[in-house]
């Protein structure tokens, strides 16, 4: 194993302790609104030690880690029970987009905050009427002197309640429809024109939010690309979403699976033939998924866009939804009882995984995309965009 990973292993052992102990294995999806202050502190600690952005190129302050190192890095993090990262949107989605499309001034302004774990980001894409039909963006941006002025509403904005900045797609050209006339803006959340309201979910947690823009402002230099490039940049960012950012998630899945197996052995479910089959099937899916993720990443590393990219979301979402159901069935008659301790997470897994097949593009939208783009099937009849 490379020196980098050994160092990280040692660092985790020495630093993920003390006050951070209570975060062990926590803050995974469905649990992401817990202990924000402690998690900010953890992000800063990771950042100070140089463990944010290890996969970024060296010239941008990263460590230029190889794919193998990134895999090992995430494995080490999960093995130590490191908590879900509220900096991951900035680190693994926004930063690679900024590095690819931003100006030098923009990189100099925003990369350090992400790298130091001091500035957190969220993603302003979905709107009440632009969900599956994402290009139906209604949020408006107009130029007022040196500033963009934004009015409208975003919804399902993950972790906005903890974030410092949001990247927003908005319609800058009056009268344009669909993918045209959009801008990609970088906006500070702490301002008079922005109101964030958490959405309480069936899990009784609130990691998704509504974000209202009422004459919210950003400098005109805080736009990536030009007017009309918004869609292209937004889609490029989604490409990164299927890349290295999935590694951490995969490790979370592995921990959850391990926990379910452990419980099944303890409570006797491991002797039930149908449960055994389902656990074996879940194991099979987990392995298949990780191999494909690695292959996709490897292709990306060599500058190839692999076809699996289109398919990753629907595969992991479906697998994880089924894992949630398996967790409940392994708990058996106790499934409805809320628990603390080691297996307390399994309810959160079950409840949150009801949303996996919806957010980030429903399974049905994913199938449309796969059928039309990967298989070249005839397009669905569409109405005129308004």
């Amino acid at each position: 194993m490379s020196g980098l990973i050994d160092k990280f292993d040692t660092w985790m052992a020495e630093n993920f302790c003390g006050e951070f102990e209570s975060l062990r294995g926590r803050a995974t999806p469905g649990d992401e609104d817990i202990m924000p202050e402690l998690r900010f502190a953890w992000e800063r600690k990771m950042g100070e030690a140089g463990w944010v952005g290890v996969g970024w190129p060296k010239e941008h302050g990263g460590k230029g880690a190889s794919l193998e190192e990134l895999v090992a890095f995430n494995e080490v993090y999960a093995r130590h029970g490191g908590p879900g990262r509220n900096g991951h949107i900035g680190e693994t989605l926004f930063a690679p987009t900024l590095i690819a499309y931003g100006t030098d001034a923009q990189k100099a302004k925003y990369l350090p905050g992400i790298k130091n774990g001091t500035e957190l980001w969220c993603q302003g894409y979905s709107e009440p009427n632009a969900g599956s039909d994402l290009s139906n963006i209604k949020t408006k941006a107009r130029l007022d002197g040196d500033e963009w002025v934004v009015d409208g509403q975003k919804i399902w904005t993950s972790l906005a309640m903890d974030a410092d900045y949001v990247f927003v797609i908005a319609r800058a050209e009056e009268g344009t429809v669909g993918r045209h006339g959009l801008v990609f803006l970088l906006m500070k959340l702490d301002q008079a024109g922005i109101d964030i309201r958490p959405i309480k979910q069936i899990s009784e947690t609130a990691e998704f939010n509504e974000v209202f823009f009422d004459s919210a402002r950003c400098h005109k230099d805080d736009m990536i690309g030009g007017v009309g490039d918004g869609w292209k940049i937004a889609m490029a960012l989604l490409g990164f979403e299927r890349g290295a950012s999935t590694l951490g998630q995969q490790m979370t899945f592995t921990n959850e699976f391990e926990s379910i197996v452990k419980l099944a052995k303890e409570n006797g479910a491991a002797h039930d033939p149908t449960i055994r089959q389902r656990i074996a099937k879940a194991y099979c899916g987990l392995k298949v998924m990780r191999m494909t993720a690695l292959r996709t990443l490897e292709a990306a590393h060599h500058g190839e866009l692999s076809r699996e990219g289109y398919m990753s979301k629907i595969y992991w979402a479906t697998w994880h939804r089924d894992l949630g159901e398996l967790a409940m069935d392994v708990m058996g008659p106790d499934a409805e009882l809320l628990k603390d301790g080691e297996y307390g997470m399994l309810h959160k897994l079950f409840l949150f995984s009801r949303s996996d097949t919806i957010y980030g593009g429903t399974n049905q939208i994913q199938r449309n995309i796969i059928a039309e783009r990967a298989l070249g099937m005839p397009k669905e009849p569409r109405g005129k965009p308004k």
């Binding site: 193998e68 895999v71 995430n74 494995e75 080490v76 999960a78 093995r79 490790m251 592995t254 921990n255 699976f257 391990e258 197996v261 099944a264 052995k265 491991a270 055994r276 089959q277 656990i279 074996a280 099937k281 194991y283 099979c284 392995k287 298949v288 998924m289 990780r290 191999m291 494909t292 690695l294 292959r295 490897e298 292709a299 060599h302 076809r307 699996e308 398919m311 629907i314 595969y315 049905q364 994913q366 199938r367 449309n368 796969i370 059928a371 039309e372 990967a374 298989l375 070249g376 099937m377 005839p378 397009k379 669905e380 009849p381």
Partner: protein, 298 residues
């Protein structure tokens, strides 16, 4: 770990695929099914280096790893190749001893034996019929080969790879059909009820392939995972393909059944689903190997 083939390996696989598809047409497959004589492809298998693909260079082979053979097997599955080319080149040859390599197997590699697609490869044995009319099988005693684990590894990987190829073929045939066939004034492929099913199968195929390659490289537990994944994918592909083709998919006239039957046959070969699932159950629930983070490549 690098899953990508080298340029030479990819060329070899592409050449094999083009050859299999070009030669093994539906017309040829139908002739074989009807018991008619067809062109003997064995000399060309030898010429392309396929028979000696995994044989040592000292015996005139190309000494390629199993994962390359898996690439060829996927191509053979796609083309519905009936000849047991993979079984010989991918299972028998790599496990042949020196004596066998210098004798019969080398001759097979040079195609001197000119095996036909019937049972002539086996000296004796009772011929049994398969639901796939292109598979001519003989009963044989598997014996107590000391290489049995390795033989099973090769066999399971190559049948899984063929299932991936067959699944892709069934999806491609269904996509073409769904673009052509019109109902309610539109190609049926524009309806979500059709395209979503095909998207689901295609996703399974793309996810199963890297697993099969890992199984080729690593062996062990990955083989069970790969075969289960390949069986589930192929069963889903066949189920979907016949549904997309509607009544036509159930006719002998449409070629789909040639590929469905091969898939259904290979599902039970080299360990059926139940066998591999039980292995996985034992491994996960009774085994003491770690499952958590840190097992990415196992």
């Amino acid at each position: 770990m690098d899953f990508r083939f080298t340029e030479n390996q990819q060329d070899l696989i592409d050449a094999a695929k083009a050859f299999f598809i070009g030669e093994n047409t539906a017309e040829r497959m139908r002739k074989i099914a009807a018991g008619e004589t067809v062109d003997n492809l064995w000399p060309q298998f030898a010429e392309l280096g396929l028979l000696g693909l995994m044989a040592p260079e000292s015996a005139g082979g190309l000494e390629q790893p199993l994962v390359v053979m898996a690439g060829v097997a996927e191509a053979a599955g796609y083309a519905g190749l009936p000849e047991p080319c993979l079984e010989i080149a991918g299972v028998s040859v790599p496990h042949a001893n020196e004596e066998e390599l210098s004798g019969q197997i080398t001759r097979a590699m040079r195609s001197e034996l000119r095996p036909h697609i019937d049972s002539s490869l086996a000296d004796s044995g009772e011929v049994v019929m398969s639901i796939d009319p292109l598979r001519k099988l003989v009963k044989a005693d598997s014996g107590n080969d000391q290489n049995i684990d390795s033989i099973n590894h090769h066999g399971a990987v190559l049948s899984a790879a063929q299932l991936v190829g067959l699944s892709q073929r069934m999806v491609d045939m269904s996509v073409e059909y769904a673009k052509d066939r019109h109902q309610f004034g539109k190609p049926i492929g524009s309806f979500q009820a059709i395209k979503h099913h095909l998207a689901t199968v295609y996703t399974q195929i793309e996810f199963t392939r890297p697993m099969v390659h890992l199984a080729a490289i690593k062996g062990g537990r990955a083989v069970h995972t790969a075969k289960v994944a390949a069986i589930d994918t192929a069963m889903m592909a066949a189920e979907t393909a016949i549904q997309v083709h509607g009544g036509m998919g159930y006719t002998f006239e449409v070629d789909l059944h040639l590929f469905m039957k091969r898939a259904w046959s290979l599902c039970g070969e080299w360990g059926d689903r139940n066998y591999h699932m039980k292995k996985l159950e034992e491994l996960v629930l009774e085994g003491d190997e770690p499952l958590g983070p840190g097992t990415t490549f196992s």
